[in-house]
Amino acid sequence: MTRKEIWYWMSGLSSWGGRTIQKLLKEFGSPEEIFASKKLPVTPAQQEEADEAKRKAVTFPEELRVWEQQGVRFLTQDEEEFPKRLAGLPDSPFFLFVKGSLPPPGPAVAVVGARKCTPYGIEQAEFFGRFLAEQGICVISGMALGVDGSAQWGALRAGGYTCAVLGTGIDVCYPASHRQLYEELEKSGGILSEYGAGAPPLPYHFPLRNRIISGLSDLVLVVEARKKSGSLITADWALEQGKDVLALPGRMGSPLNEGCNRLIRQGAGIVAEPEDVLRALGREKQDRKEAEEAELPPDEKEIWDCLGTDPKHLEQICRETGWEVGAVLLILLRLEMKEKVRQVGGNQYLRIL
């Protein structure tokens, strides 16, 4: 039984958490000793599961080979490839399942936020994903609905590297509606998880995986968060790990900005312009190909000026400009074609950053 197989044995024990393994390691000294021991100082249920799994140990090499065939690597902390940033953490995972590629060396930023976010949040997340990718910075996130997914899509579209840390088994696409993102990440980014085959999205998995998200990054950027939000847990982990936390400020009184504003009050960095993130990383803005602000024709300019980063309804645009519905719709369509404007919901429009 190789050490890797022993780690694999432990990865399959759903009743064993990181804490249990840590305790046992302290007591027994090495994974081999734990594996050899007949009676472990654990609960009967944990003991039973461990014994049960041990009996199947002969199939481990075969199982690992099958994983390999499916494009999943099982990495343990003893291996050279295991991410250095994680290895240094006090509660580092002992092993990881990896699909796609691991984050390349270099700066990395976690972009996290609410699942039920506003169109503004989506827009910002996607913008920062794109912006960071263009600056050659890795984007780490959790592949969740809302902010997480949008940030990762942004990075993918800009051709940058992004990796998702899952709170489910490596082979589980959660949420199911992100199947396309999952496949895209597998192809041109990375997917990590400390959970093995088919682990379900249990509520306590997510706060724990957040420590990996923050651990892999130099900086955590919170886009939108409610008062009680998983993103705030990521921020807490980041502070514990000695990483910077930045937050996007929001309007007072808006429930989706409460979390961010609170972070700022507690001392998180404020992002007033995209460059703030670079500054926090101690980097200069690389000459990002300045999108030539092609001069818009006057009519398009007027409508564009009327729009903001929050969705605005056709109705209000008509009222503010005094134009007819048909004319406004035509201009909006032109702007949409130029990717200056996006339609959200039914007839609401916002600027694309």
């Binding site: 056709l314 519905v325 919901g345």
Partner: protein, 509 residues
Amino acid sequence: MYTKVNSMMVQGIDGLFISVETDVSAGLPEFSMVGYLSSEVREARERVRISLKNSGFALPPRRITVNLSPADLRKEGTSFDLAVALGILASYGHLPEQCLRRLAVIGELGLDGGVRPVPGVLSMVGAAKEAGVSGCIVPKENEAEGALVEEMAVAGVENLPEAVRLLQTPGAWQERIREPVWTPEDRPNYGEDFSEVNGQIALKRAAEVAAAGMHNLLMIGPPGSGKTMVARRIPTILPELTRKESLEVSKIYSVCGLLPPDRPLKTERPFRAPHHTASYQSLVGGGRVPKPGELSLANRGVLFLDELPEFPKVSLEVLRQPLEDRAVRISRVQGSYLFPADCMVVAAMNPCRCGYYPDRSRCQCGEAEVKRYLRRISRPLLDRMDLCVEAPAIGFEAVRAEGENETSAQIRSRVREAWERQRHRLRDAGIDCNAQMTGRHVKTYCRLDEQEESMMAHIFEKLGLSARAYYRILKVARTIADLDGEDKIMERHLGEALGYRGLEQRFWG
């Protein structure tokens, strides 16, 4: 003695000519009725016998046989009572038989000899005219309704003795003949007007476009944004009904017993708003003896489906076929019934369960929940909604705004012009509005120039629209161009039409 009296019944929404044959002869005293009768017709025997007695007609005991012919057709309804009574009186010799020959008699009897109103008089009198009858005796309450049929003498009677008197006095009949009550001044009166709607510029414009092409319209918006208010006013901007259409609409209402006796001609375009708990039979029509449903009652007008996702799936699915055919066909053992259903469907819904999506400060619905809510409406039905428009929540200043709003009459005149353009263009295609165009018609009548064609191609690729959506957008663009008075579909028309494409999947999520 044998006599024959003409009477009428309703089948579906059409009147049917029925002969009531009566024979009184010697034999054991008996009153029998034959002719494939349903139970309410069979019961006429008791009503007729007692009302004759209570009206003071003494009839010596004889053998009375009544036959309703054609005998192979199931007789339904209570419209034969009066004809049976008059037939018996004629057979007994109380009435000269020839006075009944060119008349049709319609009416239900009460035990006191009173004549009660029946549904469907308009259809029956209309059919009587076609059968070559020159006069009709109808219940008093239905007199005005019957009189709508031109070149037909219609007399309303309150009770049996009055009917008998009318037939016995030669001059009395002529006096009763009334001119048709239709006058061109009989303007529709809706009691509502578009000028009462403040704000909602986009919604109002979409309503105008929908009305101009009889397109189906879907309105999405938070509660209280005025969706219902606008929907109720859509009939007011549709061009007035022609006399023929008015009669067609009135006929359906008559059959359903929904015509007010004092104002029997419906000159207003119908507006029907069935509640979402309505059964599907009540929507498309049905029953053992098929009656028109809401869809047919909305014929030539507006069928408003509020809270669209709350309608049971089966109710919405049965609407699909009739919406395509503009008619409902219901089949029963005794035959099939065809009800007209040429209406525009206006539907309203909330964007999600709570109604505030995508306003995240108020809406807590998850993406999956929003999608699930929208999925309650099937795609084929959505495909029939040519225009989708979102209504924003109304701000206070918009509600308070005192500004001059356009009146329904102003909008209506534009809509009428657009209708005329369409009629003229589509005259060879056998349809009369843009909404009825099929893919083949779109290819013929909605040609794009090279420039517009390439613009559409570009947009389609970019937005990932379906071929279905393509035709829908072209149809709507055609209507917008008609409103604009243009023969060619131009970029601005396409631009606006694309603004109403609405619920394409990718914009929700």
